[in-house]
C-alpha cells in the first residue's frame, strides 16, 4: 500500500514511525536500495541554521488608553513599520538602531524572545478616535498581544559560494573575503538542507508544518525571489539560488538557541534562523531525492570583487565542506557561514518531536508556482497608456 501523509501520521500517533535525519538517510542509501529505504523510513528531517536577512516579526502592542494611532515607532531605537492599524507593527531583522549600527531588528526580536523589557516610543497625529500624541514605555513578550515571526524569504534551496579577486579585503554578507581569492565562503547545509531534499517541491508547499526558531511554525507562501528556472544538474539539484520559503511561527514560543541576531562588519544586521522541515518518504522517487549526497549538490563560486559577481568555477558541497578548494592551481581555504553543527541539532530535535508524537506532518494546502523566475529592477520610463 502506498504511503500517504495520513498513514505516516497514523504511525506517528501510535509511536511506530521511523524517522531519520537527511544525513543519516544519505548514509543508509550507501548500503540499501531506494526501494528498501522507501519501505523502511517514513520521515526524513532536514534543517539549516544560517543568516537570513529577509526575516522579521509582527507585533501587536495592545491599545493605549486613550488610544494612539502609532507612527514613528521605535523599539530600543530600532524603527518599526507604522503603516498598519493603530497598534500593529512589523519589525524587520536588518533595521538598524539609530544609536548603534551593530544593534538592529534581529536583536530586538532576540531580546523579546529572551523575555527582556524593551523601550517603546511612538508618536500619533492625535485623531478624534485616537487622541494620544506620544507614548514612551516598556514592553516585553508578555505585555504584547501577538508576537510572531514572519519571514518573507528563508531557506534558500542553494546559494553560490563567494570569493574576492581584488587587492583588498571585502566585508560582505558572505563574511570577510580575503584579497586575491584567499578564501571561499559558502552558506548552505548541503545534503541536510531542506529544499535540496525535495528539489521539485513535491511535499513542501503552502501550509507545511515546520520547525522554526525552536517552535512549530508553518510555510505560508513561496519565499520572495522564488526561482524555478535555475539550471539543474542531472540529479535535479539547482546550481545556485532557486526555491525559497516564506514562514510564520509564534515567536513567544521560540528559543534564542535557534534564533540569533548577527552583525556582519561593514554590512549590517542579520538573523540566524533555525529552520527544520520534515519530508515524508512517500515513494521511491522521494527516497531518491532524499538520498542526495554533498558530492551531488553543486554550486558556483562567484567573484564578489567583480561587477555582477561572475561565476569563476563550479564545485560541490563535499569539496566545500572538506575545508579546501583549488582556484587557479592554488589551494584555498573554504569556510561556512551557516552552522552545520546547529543544523544537525535541529534535524535531531525535529526527529525526536516526531518520534515522541509531538509533531505531525501536513499535506500542502496548495503547491508552489512551477514557472517563477526572478526579475531585476531597471531604470525605465513610465508606460504611456
Amino acid at each position: 500500500m502506498p504511503k500517504t501523509i495520513g498513514s505516516i501520521n497514523e504511525k506517528i500517533k501510535n509511536g511506530s514511525s521511523v524517522v531519520v535525519t537527511a544525513q543519516q538517510f544519505t548514509q543508509m542509501a550507501k548500503s540499501k536500495s531506494l526501494e528498501e529505504l522507501a519501505e523502511e523510513v517514513d520521515v526524513v528531517t532536514t534543517a539549516t541554521f544560517g543568516p537570513m536577512c529577509s526575516s522579521g516579526a509582527v507585533i501587536n502592542f495592545g491599545h493605549w488608553e486613550p488610544g494612539i494611532r502609532m507612527e514613528e515607532i521605535e523599539l530600543n531605537g530600532v524603527n518599526c513599520y507604522e503603516g498598519l492599524a493603530a497598534v500593529d507593527s512589523y519589525i524587520g531583522a536588518t533595521a538598524e538602531s539609530r544609536y548603534d549600527c551593530t544593534y538592529g531588528g534581529a536583536n530586538v526580536i532576540e531580546d523579546l524572545v529572551t523575555g527582556k523589557d524593551l523601550h517603546l516610543r511612538a508618536r500619533g497625529k492625535g485623531t478624534d478616535c485616537y487622541p494620544t500624541k506620544e507614548i514612551d514605555t516598556w514592553i516585553n513578550k508578555d505585555t504584547v498581544n501577538e508576537f510572531y515571526l514572519f519571514n518573507p524569504r528563508n531557506g534558500y534551496q542553494n546559494y553560490n559560494a563567494a570569493t574576492n579577486s581584488t587587492d583588498s579585503i571585502m566585508y560582505t554578507y558572505m563574511g570577510c573575503l580575503l584579497p586575491h581569492n584567499n578564501n571561499v565562503t559558502y552558506s548552505t547545509s548541503g545534503e541536510l538542507s531542506p529544499l535540496l531534499n525535495d528539489p521539485f517541491f513535491r511535499t513542501i508547499g503552502i501550509g507545511t508544518r515546520i520547525f522554526l526558531g525552536g517552535a512549530q511554525g508553518y510555510v505560508v507562501w513561496n519565499g520572495t525571489q522564488f526561482n524555478t528556472m535555475q539550471n539543474r544538474n542531472d540529479k535535479g539539484v539547482p546550481i545556485g539560488s532557486a526555491g525559497t520559503l516564506a514562514v510564520i511561527g509564534d515567536a513567544k514560543q521560540m528559543d534564542t538557541r535557534y534564533l540569533k541576531a548577527a552583525y556582519y562588519y561593514k554590512y549590517g544586521v542579520s538573523m540566524f534562523v533555525g529552520l527544520g522541515v520534515p519530508i515524508p518518504v512517500l515513494d521511491v522517487d522521494m527516497a531518491q531525492h532524499l538520498a542526495i549526497s554533498n558530492q551531488e549538490i553543486e554550486t558556483e563560486v562567484c567573484d564578489y570583487g567583480r561587477k555582477g559577481h561572475p561565476a569563476i568555477l563550479r564545485t560541490n558541497y563535499a569539496q566545500l565542506q572538506s575545508g579546501f578548494l583549488e582556484i587557479n592551481g592554488e589551494k584555498v581555504r573554504t569556510a561556512p557561514m551557516a552552522s552545520l553543527n546547529r543544523a544537525r541539532e535541529i534535524a535531531e530535535l525535529l526527529k525526536q518531536w516526531i518520534c515522541k508524537g509531538e509533531f505531525f506532518l501536513t499535506e500542502p494546502v496548495a503547491k508552489f508556482p512551477k514557472d517563477s523566475s526572478v526579475k531585476t529592477m531597471t531604470q525605465r520610463q513610465r508606460d504611456t497608456q
Binding site: 541554521f49 566585508y171 563574511g175 580575503l178 540569533k260 548577527a262 540566524f272 561556512p336 552552522s339 546547529r342
Partner: protein, 132 residues
C-alpha cells in the same frame, strides 16, 4: 622553549640579514607569523622564536643591541566561547589555523596557534572576539 615577539626596526636595518643571523649565530628557529617590511620605510615582524632559553636570551640581546625594538607579544585574543554558534565565519580569515571546525563542525580555538592578527574580531557575526 618558544617565545613570541614583535620586532620593529628602522629603515637602515631593513637590509640586515636578521633571520639568517638568528638561525646561524644563536641556533634559534624563527617562525614569521606576520610581517610588514619595505625598504625606506622600516619594518615590523611578528615572530615566534624557538631554541634553548640561553640562546633565546642572547638572541634577544643581540636584536636590541643592533637597534631593533623587541616587544614580547602582550596582546591576547579573548573568545567568549559559550555564546558561539559554530557558524565557522571566523575560520574563513584565520590564516594561523587557531580557529577551525572539528569533525562535528564545532568551533575549536587553539590559543597556541593564535598570532593575534585580529581578523576574527570583525569576522565573527556575534562579536565574540576581543583583543586585550
Amino acid at each position: 622553549m618558544k617565545k613570541r615577539f614583535t620586532l620593529r626596526f628602522a629603515p637602515n636595518l631593513v637590509n640586515q640579514p636578521l633571520v639568517s643571523k638568528l638561525v646561524r649565530s644563536y641556533d634559534v628557529e624563527i617562525n614569521i607569523l606576520n610581517g610588514d617590511v619595505s625598504s625606506g620605510k622600516g619594518g615590523m615582524l611578528v615572530v615566534e622564536l624557538e631554541g634553548k632559553p640561553d640562546n633565546l636570551k642572547e638572541a634577544e640581546k643581540w636584536l636590541k643591541d643592533i637597534g631593533v625594538v623587541v616587544s614580547p607579544m602582550s596582546k591576547d585574543l579573548i573568545f567568549d566561547s559559550e555564546k558561539c554558534i559554530d557558524c565557522g565565519a571566523c575560520t574563513a580569515v584565520c590564516n594561523s589555523g587557531a580557529l577551525s571546525l572539528d569533525r562535528d563542525w564545532k568551533l575549536v580555538y587553539d590559543s597556541d596557534k593564535c598570532v593575534v592578527c585580529a581578523l576574527c574580531v570583525h569576522a565573527c557575526p556575534l562579536k565574540l572576539f576581543t583583543i586585550a
